[in-house]
């Protein structure tokens, strides 16, 4: 299947972005954004790569990038969006909500309602498979790097065998490719809207995030290092905390990974 290429010009002239870099291949867009941060580029800076060889997740996790996927990092100053220092974890929530908003219309009528949502803390899942992930790095001076990977025009058939059944792409779901330029511009609009909402109405953003979380009401296991905790998810707090009812009472989790059953 022919994969449409990103049209650079409409992204370069995007009214929100002050700087833009497009690379054919990078180790990691976050690493490139970190390197660029040292040269104080006008912000926001968007780094996009057609391919990534060392994309990162948490811990030892790696982000698989198949041909046609979207990988990007946004270097920005959260203060310019009204985001206070103690709201930075919310950027992770805002990114997840923005991706759901961007892919939602493309999946209308394609996947049953309720199948698109968030796998705590912030992965975008469709029918129990991962469509997108985000990771945020804070710099000492308060600037943030938001790294995003969205499985758009790639196909899970090209993924390593261990990921094939856990990943899903827009192309796989809709059986067609999507204009990467239009998708990126739509995603940027949703990102900006969600980040601004985090700055000005964090409860509303938190409520949107919580409503999308697929774990509510379910029994889940959270792994933190060598510790695991199992409980029923009572709810997700507006600051993103996973609220688990455990045999020892209700506990709030701000970190850890859900163990795949």
């Amino acid at each position: 299947m022919k994969i449409p290429a990103l049209d650079i010009e409409p992204v370069r002239s995007h009214d929100w972005l002050a700087s833009f870099e497009h690379h054919f291949t990078l180790g990691s867009t976050n690493a490139r954004a970190r390197e660029a941060a040292g040269h104080n580029p006008p912000l926001p800076l968007l780094v996009v790569a057609d391919g990534q060889t060392a994309g990162r997740g948490r811990g030892a996790n790696r982000w698989w990038t198949g041909r046609g996927s979207l990988v990007m990092s946004l270097l920005f100053d959260p203060a310019t969006l009204g985001i206070a220092a103690d709201q930075r974890t919310g950027v992770s929530l805002a990114a997840a909500v923005a991706v759901v908003d961007a892919v939602g219309p493309l999946l209308d009528g394609v996947v049953p309602q309720g199948e698109l949502g968030l796998h705590w803390p912030n992965d975008v899942f469709v029918s129990q498979r991962k469509l997108a992930g985000a990771l945020v790095e804070t710099l000492f001076d308060g600037r943030l790097i938001l790294g995003l990977g969205v499985n758009t025009n790639n196909t899970a058939a090209d993924a390593p065998p261990e990921l094939r059944r856990r990943a899903v792409t827009l192309r796989d779901l809709t059986e067609k490719t999507h204009d990467p330029t239009q998708f990126l511009i739509r995603l940027l609009a949703h990102l900006r809207e969600c980040l601004e909402q985090l700055g000005h109405d964090p409860d509303l953003l938190g409520e949107r995030f919580a409503r999308l979380c697929l774990q509510r009401g379910r029994v889940v296991t959270v792994q933190q290092g060598t510790e695991t905790t199992t409980g029923r998810c009572h709810d997700v707090a507006h600051d993103g905390a996973l609220l688990l009812d455990t045999p020892h009472g209700r506990r709030a989790f701000y970190s850890g990974a859900l163990v795949h059953e």
């Binding site: 804070t138 710099l139 000492f140 209700r250 970190s255 850890g256």
Partner: protein, 158 residues
């Protein structure tokens, strides 16, 4: 203004007496409690280290603090404690397989990154905030940490 503490108030004298009894019973040197906007910290003796940190079982306050807000608190004249400014997971190195940011015996400056704390997949570099030598690493890689939990001891005399 009503001077009587409300029921369950952590500043209730009987409650404080009971806390001190518990500290003696369990040989705790410091107790640090928070309730809504109120906080009480009880210490006994001059020794460093043990800190008992409690959080409400369910909190809706944001866990994150600005990098640089890590509390490097003097425990005695020559020893500072670098504490976690947030709830999250402690990462000793930038990536698995990479050497840790610091280990015992390493010299640090106030802006030296000593670890990362991750919450909600947001990674925050934690600075030493003091000049000295790492005397001890108090937590393990990928261990969950609480707000204000001691992470490192730093010998500031070295």
């Amino acid at each position: 203004m009503n001077a009587t503490p409300p029921a369950g108030d952590i500043f209730d004298v009987r409650r404080i007496r009971r806390l001190v009894e518990l500290m003696n019973e369990y040989d705790l040197r410091e107790l640090d409690l928070k309730q809504a906007e109120m906080r009480i910290r009880i210490r006994r003796g001059q020794d460093e280290v043990p800190v008992v940190e409690t959080r409400p079982a369910v909190s809706t306050t944001a866990p994150a603090a600005a990098p640089g807000a890590a509390a490097a608190e003097a425990a005695n004249n020559n020893l500072a404690i670098v504490k976690s400014p947030m709830v999250g997971t402690f990462y000793a190195a930038s990536e698995p397989g990479k050497p840790p940011f610091v280990k015992a015996g390493d010299r640090v400056l106030p802006d030296t990154t000593v670890c990362l704390i991750e919450a909600m997949k947001v990674f925050n570099p934690i600075p030493a905030e003091v000049t000295g030598t790492i005397a001890a690493v108090l937590v393990k890689n990928e261990q969950p940490v609480e707000f204000n939990q001691p992470l490192f001891k730093v010998d500031t005399s070295a």
